[in-house]
């Protein structure tokens, strides 16, 4: 009884719905038309890579601006040579041990010479007037800025202390009156919080962690005669000839960089790349949208040449090559159910590349770098990807570099 009723119910539903028509909005045809013109699947903007590049550049610019603005106070005054000042202080107090808390601060600052009350804490600007009067400090400051000569972080040798003492005691130079022995009292060290200015030494080794995006603009460009599918796949997944949509290629990596000469370094590491492609294809008679994903593990080798180096920023040029092994080559045809097939790819994908880079020093050892460049890929027998369709690709590497 129930079955009969349901059958009647179904029949009536079918009869009502058989000729159901609902007019869609005009945006549907606009979308269909646009996609037919550009490719089969929803397409990323051909300038999507530019968006990524813009985001990267904006981030770098923001960080750079933050660095420079946050250090504007420090850079507006003459560079303080902590070691020099400390040596002077030690010489004045005669404290060879150099414990900062034992330094009699008032004896070292000109404010005291004028008879003012000894401040327990001295600002950096309070120290400022004394420094230009110390000619011996100038060469060291220049060396610091230029970064050519590393200096020791602390003055430990008695000879150095003696040299400092004799220098500051020259006639005509303002010197603090010697007050030895001076009762030691715990006073604030005026240089507490003032980090020793790190000289721009060239790190011998740098370790980097990076992410990278590349361009994916292939519209209107025919594929090269390289394999359009993975070897042996042609008989199974068939590309129906629609224009494929390539995802933005993405790479992450870790590596190390060694200096082999004052300006020349060599870098290598391990990169993981993810390439995606969407196309209309068929597999054993079933047609639909196919998602193709390729994963590569690569070893890059690059030469870097430092063009300009300052305390906070470094410009360099680089060039090199990379060999990449295909870790995964997977096709998914969306259907009910999805058809997923993985194929092995033999051989390596080789590429060469070059570019200019900039590194912003975020700290004593950490730098944020951006390496825009151009890569050329040799497709070989690799499966079709953005790298085989457009061997010449713009690339933006960005990452952190730890210098030791």
């Amino acid at each position: 009884m129930q079955d009969t009723e349901f059958k009647e119910f179904d029949r009536q539903l079918r009869s009502v719905l058989a000729d159901a028509e609902v007019k869609p909005s005009r945006r549907v045809w606009k979308g269909v038309s646009a996609r037919l013109a550009a490719g089969s699947a929803p397409v990323a903007s051909p300038w999507a890579w530019l968006k990524w590049a813009g985001v990267s550049l904006a981030a770098v610019a923001a960080v750079a601006a933050g660095i420079f603005f946050s250090n504007s106070t420090r850079t507006s005054i003459p560079t303080i040579n902590y070691n020099q000042s400390q040596a002077t202080m030690l010489a004045q107090t005669g404290d060879a041990a150099g414990a900062p808390t034992d330094v009699a601060v008032p004896a070292a600052v000109p404010a005291n010479e004028a008879g003012s009350a000894a401040p327990a804490e001295v600002s950096r600007t309070a120290v400022r007037p004394t420094l230009p009067q110390r000619p011996e400090s100038r060469p060291v400051e220049v060396a610091e800025v230029s970064g050519e000569q590393p200096i020791p972080e602390t003055v430990a040798s008695p000879e150095a202390e003696r040299q400092q003492e004799s220098t500051v005691s020259e006639p005509g130079q303002p010197t603090a009156p010697k007050a030895r022995p001076r009762a030691k009292q715990p006073v604030a060290d005026p240089f507490v919080g003032l980090e020793p200015e790190r000289t721009v030494t060239r790190p011998r080794i740098a370790i980097y962690a990076q992410g990278s995006v590349g361009s994916n603009d292939t519209y209107g460009r025919p594929a090269p005669p390289a394999a359009r599918m993975a070897p042996g796949v042609q008989d199974e997944f068939i590309d129906l000839g629609s224009t494929p949509t390539f995802g933005v290629p993405f790479t992450i990596g870790l590596g190390v960089r060694f200096y082999v000469a004052p300006r020349l370094s060599i870098g290598t590491g391990l990169d993981y790349s993810l390439l995606t492609r969407t196309f209309t294809g068929s597999y054993q008679g079933t047609s639909g949208t196919v998602s193709h994903t390729i994963q590569y593990l690569g070893v890059p080798v690059r030469l870097y040449y430092d063009i300009l180096t300052s305390e906070r920023i470094k410009f360099y040029a680089y060039g090199g090559g990379e060999g990449e092994f295909c870790l995964g080559n997977s096709y998914r045809l969306f259907g009910a159910p999805d058809i997923v097939r993985d194929y092995k790819v033999n051989g390596l994908l080789f590429s060469v590349g070059a570019g200019l880079g900039v590194e912003f020093r975020l700290g004593r050892t950490v730098g944020l770098y951006l390496d825009p460049g151009v890569n050329y890929y040799f497709p070989g027998n690799q499966p079709r990807s953005i790298r085989t369709d457009k061997p010449l690709l713009l690339n933006f590497d960005a990452g952190l570099r730890f210098n030791f």
């Binding site: 539903l13 159901a20 869609p24 549907v28 045809w29 269909v32 996609r35 699947a41 639909g288 949208t289």
Partner: protein, 186 residues
Amino acid sequence: MQLFKDKKHLNTRETEWIEGAKRGERRCQKAIYDLLSAKMFAVCLRYMGDRDVAEDILQDGFVTLFSKLDSYSGEGSFEGWARKIFVNTALMSLRKKDALKMSEDVSVAWNITSDDPTAIQRIGYTDLLKMIAALPPGFRTVFNMYVIEGYSHKEIAEALGISETTSRSQLQRARTLLQTKVKEKY
């Protein structure tokens, strides 16, 4: 709108449109779109339940249709061939969204039957589409595939990755819910 029902209904004009669309002529593609879009949109609405989502499916389906037009040999109903594309596109989307979670609970009473079997005839398809759209995705999908498209429970089970029992239970619950809605309206 009865065009494309089968080959015998394909007149010269429609055949030219298909051939032109195969060559990528936008004018012919637009003509086919104009003829099929309203009917296929109703199909998409039945499966997706949401107008915006259904329009996305309609768009995807037409792109697939035009890209696969070469595989249409001219034998059989063009509309039926096209409808399969839209149904498959809708099913793919539902699967990707993981919207086809089926309830195994079959304890709901199925004894609700319409007191007035003809009530449904007084309901226009607009209201009926709304009622179907309001069904849970699992119910709606099985109901559409079985009642409207004519798939068997075995085919539905294979297509959706569920058991035939689940397919049956989903169908019954969908029917029950629909009948309830019809009774509420009339």
